[in-house]
C-alpha cells in the first residue's frame, strides 16, 4: 500500500471534473422538478447534447460554439417532451422514459461520422499567478470554463429560486398549479421554460463529457449519468446546494476509489466499487430521517398534469 502516491490536490481537482456533467444535468432537472414536472429523459437529453456539442465543435473548430449547440440540442429535445406532456397531457413518466430511448437512438444516428474524431482542445482558464498558489491554485484556478459555469449555475439557480419574483412564481407553479393558475400565472408557459432550461443544462452536461472529460464521441457514452443526476436531485431534496454536495460527493467517491485501487490499497475492490452508491444511500437515509423534513420538500405538484379546465 502506498497512499503517498495519491496527491490529494490532484484528486480534488479531478473530482470536480468528474462531477461536472452530473452537476450540470442535476441543476437543470432541479429547476424542472421545482416547476412540478418530472422529466425522466435526462439521460436522453445528455447524450443528445453530447453529440450535438461534439459535432458542432468539430465542424466549427470552436468548442464554445459546441457547448452552445449542445444546450440548444438538449433544449429542443426537451421541448418535444414539453409539448407532449404540457399540451397533449401525456404521462410524464412514460414520456420521459421514451425521451431517453429516443435520445440514445438519435445520438447514435447523428454520431455515425464522428467516431474516433478528436474534438478541438479546451484549455484551462489562465488565472495567471493565482494558479501558482500551492494547493488552492490547482484546485480552484486551473479548470476549464465549464467548471466555473456549473458552479455559477448553482449559485444562480439558488438566488433565482430564493430571491426573484420569477423564482417564486416557478415554485408556486410547482407546489400548486391550480392556485398559480387562479392567480393568473401561465402554468404551461412557466413549465415549458423550465423544461427547456433543464434540457439545455442536460445538454451542457453531455457535452462536458464528450468535449472535455473523455474528449471523444462514443455511442451510449453517458452510460447512466443521467439517472444519477435524477437521483442527486432527490438526494439534494430539491435544494441547489444539495445538488452541489451530492454531485461532488458522488464524483469524489468515484474518483477516490479508482485512485485507491491504482495505489494498491489493500481494501477489497468490491467494497471500493460499490462505495459511491453505498455512501449515496447512506446519506439519503440520514437526511430523510432528520425529522422527515427532507422527504416533505418535494414539490407538491410534481409529476401531475395540468389543464386549465381542471
Amino acid at each position: 500500500m502506498d497512499l503517498s502516491a495519491i496527491n490529494p490536490v490532484i484528486l480534488i481537482a479531478s473530482l470536480m471534473v468528474a462531477a461536472t456533467p452530473i452537476l450540470l444535468a442535476a441543476i437543470g432537472e432541479l429547476v424542472v422538478e421545482k416547476s412540478g414536472v418530472l422529466n425522466l429523459g435526462v439521460e436522453g437529453m445528455m447524450i443528445t447534447g453530447a453529440i450535438c456539442g461534439f459535432a458542432v465543435a468539430v465542424e466549427t473548430g470552436n468548442p464554445w460554439l459546441g457547448f452552445l449547440g449542445a444546450a440548444l440540442g438538449g433544449a429542443v429535445l426537451s421541448l418535444l417532451f414539453g409539448f407532449l406532456t404540457q399540451y397533449l397531457l401525456s404521462n410524464q413518466v412514460a414520456t420521459g422514459l421514451a425521451l431517453t430511448l429516443f435520445g440514445l437512438g438519435l445520438s447514435a444516428l447523428l454520431g455515425q461520422g464522428y467516431v474516433g474524431v478528436t474534438p478541438p482542445e479546451i484549455d484551462a482558464i489562465g488565472f495567471g499567478p493565482l494558479a501558482d498558489i500551492p494547493v488552492i491554485g490547482p484546485i480552484l484556478f486551473e479548470h476549464d470554463l465549464m467548471v466555473y459555469v456549473s458552479l455559477a449555475l448553482i449559485a444562480g439557480v439558488w438566488a433565482f429560486l430564493k430571491y426573484s419574483r420569477a423564482g417564486l412564481i416557478l415554485r408556486a407553479v410547482g407546489e400548486s398549479h391550480d392556485a398559480a393558475h387562479a392567480l393568473g400565472y401561465k402554468v404551461v408557459y412557466v413549465r415549458m421554460a423550465a423544461i427547456a432550461f433543464g434540457g439545455a443544462c442536460a445538454g451542457l452536461g453531455g457535452a462536458y463529457l464528450s468535449l472535455i472529460r473523455v474528449p471523444q464521441w462514443t455511442e451510449g457514452m453517458t452510460a447512466g449519468a443521467g439517472w444519477i443526476a435524477l437521483a442527486i436531485v432527490v438526494f439534494a431534496s430539491w435544494r441547489p446546494v444539495g445538488v452541489l454536495l451530492g454531485a461532488y460527493l458522488f464524483g469524489g467517491v468515484t474518483v477516490l476509489q479508482l485512485n485507491l485501487q491504482a495505489a494498491g490499497v489493500a481494501v477489497p475492490v468490491e467494497y471500493l466499487s460499490m462505495s459511491p452508491y453505498l455512501i449515496t444511500i447512506l446519506v439519503l437515509v440520514i437526511m430523510s430521517s432528520g425529522g422527515g423534513r427532507a422527504s416533505l420538500n418535494a414539490p407538491a405538484a410534481l409529476g401531475k398534469s395540468f389543464h386549465a379546465s381542471n
Binding site: S14, Q216, A263, G264, P268
Partner: protein, 356 residues
C-alpha cells in the same frame, strides 16, 4: 442505465417479433453487450455479423440487439429472438452464460453460441479467442516501452478471461523488463467511457506511462493521448488513435468463425462444439505496430507472435509461481486449457488481490 437498456430491449424485442416471417431464410441473431459503435468488442462482433451477410446474401437474415445488460434482461432478449424465428443466436458476452443455457433449454431446435463461457448443451456451443496470446505480445511491447516502469491496467470484471490477460501481459512485460510493476484497476464495467477514462487518469496521475485496458471503449486512449501516455487498441484496432497514443492493438476477428457456423446451420452439420482459437488460427490478430516502437522491439514482439502462432511457444510456460509463491508450473511445463479456462489467481510478482 439498466432500466433504460431494459426498456430498449423490450421495445426492440417487440419490433423483432413483428418481423418473424420469411422462414426460408436462415435467421441469425446476435446479442451485444455494448453499442455497435463502441469501436471495440461489440464493433468487432458486428463486423462478423456483416461478414455473414456478405457471405450468404439473400439466404440469411441477421438481427441484433445492442447494449443488452448481462443477467435477466438478456434472457428476455434471447427469448424474443428465438420466438421470432432465429435459427442460431450468438450471445457475445461472458455474463450471458447462464441466460443462454436457460433459454436454450426452452428452445431445443434453436442453436446457441455463447462467447467466452464454459457451459455447453446439445444446442449450445461455446467459442472464444485466446486473447492472452495477444496480451503476451503487447505485454512485451509495454515492458519495453515504459519509462517509469509502471504499467496501468484497466480491468473489467474478475473473470478468468480478464485474469488470464493480466497474467499473460505481466509475465511477458516482466520477462523483458524485470523492474516493471503493474497497477490494476477494476472498473466493474465493460463499457462506461467516463469511468474508463477516469481510471486511466488515476493510473497516469500515479505514474503509469503505458495503459493497457480490458474494457471496450476508446476513452482510455483519449485520456492517454492528452496525458502523453501510450496505449493499446483493445478488441478492435482503434486505429483512429494511432500512431500515438495507440502503438499496437489486439484485434478479435470473429468473421471466419461466424461465417463457418452459420454455414453449418444451413447445411445441417451444426454440432455443439467448444472453439478456442488464437493467433495461429487468425481469431486474434496483432494490430500494426506504430513507428513509436523501436525496430528491435517490433521484431521481438513479432517473433513472439510468430512463435505463438506456430505453436512452438505457449505464453504460460514454466517456471511460473502463483502470487503466494507456490509453484504453479515447473520448468518447461505448460498450462493446460482447463487451468487456463478457470484461472482465478495472479502469478508471482503482481500486487493486489483478485476480487472474488
Amino acid at each position: 442505465m439498466r432500466f433504460s437498456s431494459m426498456l430498449t430491449g423490450a421495445v426492440l424485442a417487440i419490433g423483432l417479433a413483428g418481423a418473424a416471417v420469411a422462414q426460408d431464410k436462415t435467421k441469425v441473431g446476435f446479442v451485444y453487450v455494448g453499442p455497435v459503435g463502441d469501436m471495440g468488442w461489440t464493433y468487432e462482433h458486428d463486423q462478423g455479423r456483416l461478414a455473414v451477410e456478405a457471405e450468404y446474401g439473400d439466404k440469411v437474415e441477421t438481427i441484433y440487439q445492442e447494449s443488452v445488460p448481462e443477467g435477466a434482461d438478456s434472457e428476455r432478449v434471447m427469448t424474443q429472438m428465438a420466438l421470432s424465428g432465429a435459427d442460431i443466436i450468438f450471445t457475445t458476452s461472458f455474463g450471458y452464460m447462464d441466460p443462454t443455457i436457460n433459454v436454450a433449454k426452452k428452445f431445443p431446435n434453436v442453436k446457441f453460441e455463447h462467447a467466452t463461457g464454459y457451459k455447453r448443451a446439445p444446442n449450445v456451443s461455446t467459442y472464444s479467442a485466446r486473447f492472452y496470446e495477444g496480451r503476451a505480445v503487447i505485454g512485451t511491447i509495454a515492458g519495453r516501452m515504459t519509462k517509469t516502469n509502471k504499467i496501468g491496467y484497466i480491468a473489467s470484471f474478475p473473470i478468468p478471461e480478464v485474469i488470464r490477460g493480466i497474467n499473460a501481459a505481466y509475465i511477458h512485460a516482466k520477462k523483458v523488463n524485470p523492474d516493471v510493476e503493474f497497477s490494476v484497476v477494476w472498473a466493474y464495467t465493460w463499457f462506461d467511457p467516463a469511468k474508463e477514462g477516469d481510471a486511466a487518469k488515476a493510473l497516469i496521475d500515479q505514474g503509469a506511462d503505458v495503459i493497457m485496458q480490458h474494457t471496450d471503449s476508446t476513452a482510455p486512449m483519449a485520456i492517454a493521448k492528452d496525458a502523453g501516455a501510450l496505449a493499446f487498441g483493445q478488441a478492435s484496432d482503434m486505429a483512429a488513435y494511432g500512431p500515438n497514443p495507440r502503438i499496437s492493438s489486439i484485434i478479435d476477428n470473429w468473421a471466419p468463425y461466424y461465417v463457418a457456423r452459420v454455414g453449418a446451420v444451413m447445411d445441417g452439420t451444426w454440432e455443439s462444439t467448444d472453439t478456442w482459437d488464437g493467433i495461429g488460427a487468425g481469431m486474434v490478430e496483432i494490430g500494426e505496430m506504430s513507428d513509436l516502437i523501436p525496430a528491435d522491439v517490433q521484431a521481438e514482439a513479432q517473433a513472439l507472435a510468430d512463435s505463438i502462432a506456430s505453436g512452438e511457444y505457449q505464453p504460460f510456460t514454466g517456471p511460473l509461481n502463483k502470487q503466494d509463491g507456490s509453484v504453479w508450473l515447473a520448468e518447461g511445463e505448460t498450462a493446460d486449457d482447463g487451468t487456463l479456462a478457470g484461472m482465478n489467481f495472479y502469478v508471482e510478482g503482481l500486487t493486489g488481490s483478485v476480487p472474488n
